[in-house]
């Protein structure tokens, strides 16, 4: 079984979510990777170290901007010329558009929001949490190629130290695929890792009381070596940038540790973070729903608990 993985990159680095999916692909059989961009040839070797036996590289100025449609042309051509059984993606704004357009182009089945992919009775089965993650749906594909999008953090990257054969591919693009242009890229100020990539997340909600209180969240995140996330309520209120929003209309994250500060745990937030390994909640309200699905809950004032916790973590780390 040959599985092709789309490796997304940003700022000259492959995203760990994509590398995690590559590790999953390698566990199923022959794993190939596709690296698409402009000036990206160096990333191909990186893919070999993480389990790809072959890397298709499309290095073309048309792929400079992170836009989906030229990438659809590139992947469709690779699939047609080389044939694959599965084509897997780590879910993102870009990857979702690419995967969906490819499904139409190849008349192929796409399943999304998957947290795992397993072989059952000789067939591939995707695990898809649904309806606020209250049910796990087993989803399948009627034929190859099978397309799938995986939630962030579904798999950890595995460094195999291998070497991949690199194959440069020249793509002829469709006119309509080159019609959209990126005029400008506005990066949001961020310190530390992005929330999809982070193993530890410290998140703040309405209970912080105001935007200035995010300082205590940032300090704890820095002490733990993690990223800062926010709920929709505080992003809507303008306290913190949208790129950090976790939940139904934001991102789905599954870090090893999620520390929720002043977050009630409404279902819209819950669906974005309940896949986290360990959830610690700090909230004044003992009836907050978050206490029903956290591992350790602290009923108390975050303005007192969090700074103390930061100091203790720093001391522990220093010692």
């Amino acid at each position: 079984m040959t599985t092709l993985v789309f490796l997304e990159h940003h700022g000259g680095e492959l995203l760990s979510g994509s590398l995690g999916v590559l590790a999953k692909a390698a566990s199923l059989g022959e794993a190939h990777a596709a690296v698409l961009g402009s000036g990206v040839s160096g990333l191909a070797e990186e893919a070999g170290r993480f389990g790809a036996s072959k890397v298709f590289v499309v290095d073309d100025p048309a792929l400079e901007a992170p836009l989906p449609q030229p990438r659809v042309d590139a992947l469709a051509q690779i699939v047609r010329e080389h044939g694959v059984d599965n084509l897997l993606f780590a879910q993102s704004v870009l990857a979702s558009d690419i995967a969906a357009a490819l499904a139409a182009r190849l008349e192929a089945g796409l399943n999304w929001q998957l947290t795992d992919l397993v072989v059952e009775g000789g067939e591939l089965v995707g695990k898809q949490p649904a309806l606020g993650d209250s049910v796990i749906v087993d989803v399948g594909w009627k034929q190859a190629p099978r397309l799938a999008l995986f939630r962030s953090g579904a798999f950890d990257p595995v460094e195999t130290g291998g070497q991949a054969t690199v194959e440069a591919v020249t793509v002829s693009f469709e006119d309509f695929s080159l019609a959209a242009h990126m005029l400008e890229q506005l990066q949001e100020e961020s310190t530390g890792p992005s929330i999809e990539e982070a193993e530890i997340i410290v998140a703040g909600g309405r209970g912080l009381g105001g935007p200035e209180s995010f300082t205590v969240i940032e300090e704890l995140a820095a002490a733990l070596g993690g990223a800062v996330a926010a709920t929709r309520a505080v992003v809507d209120a303008g306290w913190y940038p949208y790129s950090t929003q976790v939940g139904q209309t934001g991102k789905t994250v599954s870090p090893k540790l999620y520390v929720a500060c002043g977050i009630s745990g409404a279902i819209q937030h819950k669906v974005g973070m309940q896949g986290s390994g360990v959830i610690i909640a700090i909230n004044k309200d003992p009836n907050a729903p978050i206490f029903e699905f956290c591992d350790l809950g602290v009923v108390g004032d975050l303005h007192s608990v969090v700074p103390k916790l930061t100091e203790l973590v720093k001391t522990r780390r220093a010692g």
Binding site: A65, V135, I136, A179, I200, V305, L312, R316
Partner: protein
Amino acid sequence: MKIAVCVKQVPEGTKRIDPASKRLDRSGEGALNAYDANAVEEALRLKEGSGDGEVVLVSMGPASALDAIRKALAMGADRSVLVSDDAAAGSDLVATSYVLAAALEREGADLILFGQQAADSDGAVLWAAVADRLRRPLISQLADLSIEGGHVHGKRQTEFGYDVIDAPLPAVVAVSDAINEPRYPSLKGIMGAKKKPQDVVGLGELGLDPARAGQAGSRTAVLALGAPAPRGESRTIEDDGAAAGEIVAYLEEKRLL
């Protein structure tokens, strides 16, 4: 300018999957997918801003989806087209985009708008499949949008910030729910909605092959339903000044420090 807005009826309130058909139970009261209201709102603002044009709703679903469509008509859309056919039930992405693209092709709109996701399936994929079938430029996750000189222009929200994107019309655009605050329909709007043209068409009228729609045309299948793995023991403590220390001890026990 002619704007087509794709809307979907989703089940109201608590959602369930029918264990027999393994499809979402759509028997109850239907609501307009809340994210689609942002797309309808944006279309109405564009029409009001330019002073002329038409806003057409395009949907696919059972006949009862007209209830949800009327909510969008009440906001101010001019008319609607619902593709409703038993042969289209149970369509996955490939099949849905096949049907919807044909309905949109017939409308020939300058701009096709989508909301940012479907509240029932958590899908955020349909526009890209439709854009590919229509061979039109695509921009998704737009947090603001303007039309000028035959181009659509806006800020696309990504994991890393904002990308400013420009594309020539006709184009397919999916808007983020941060783009606007949808209006509430006025009483006049609600009363007037019933009288607006509401076409219901079958696959045959669109010249579509039933074998490519519905479950027959789908390339994915739902195999089984299961319960999620339960979380382990949960513990809640009251902060008496020592909670921070207990958290550190817990993190050490879990080898997270």
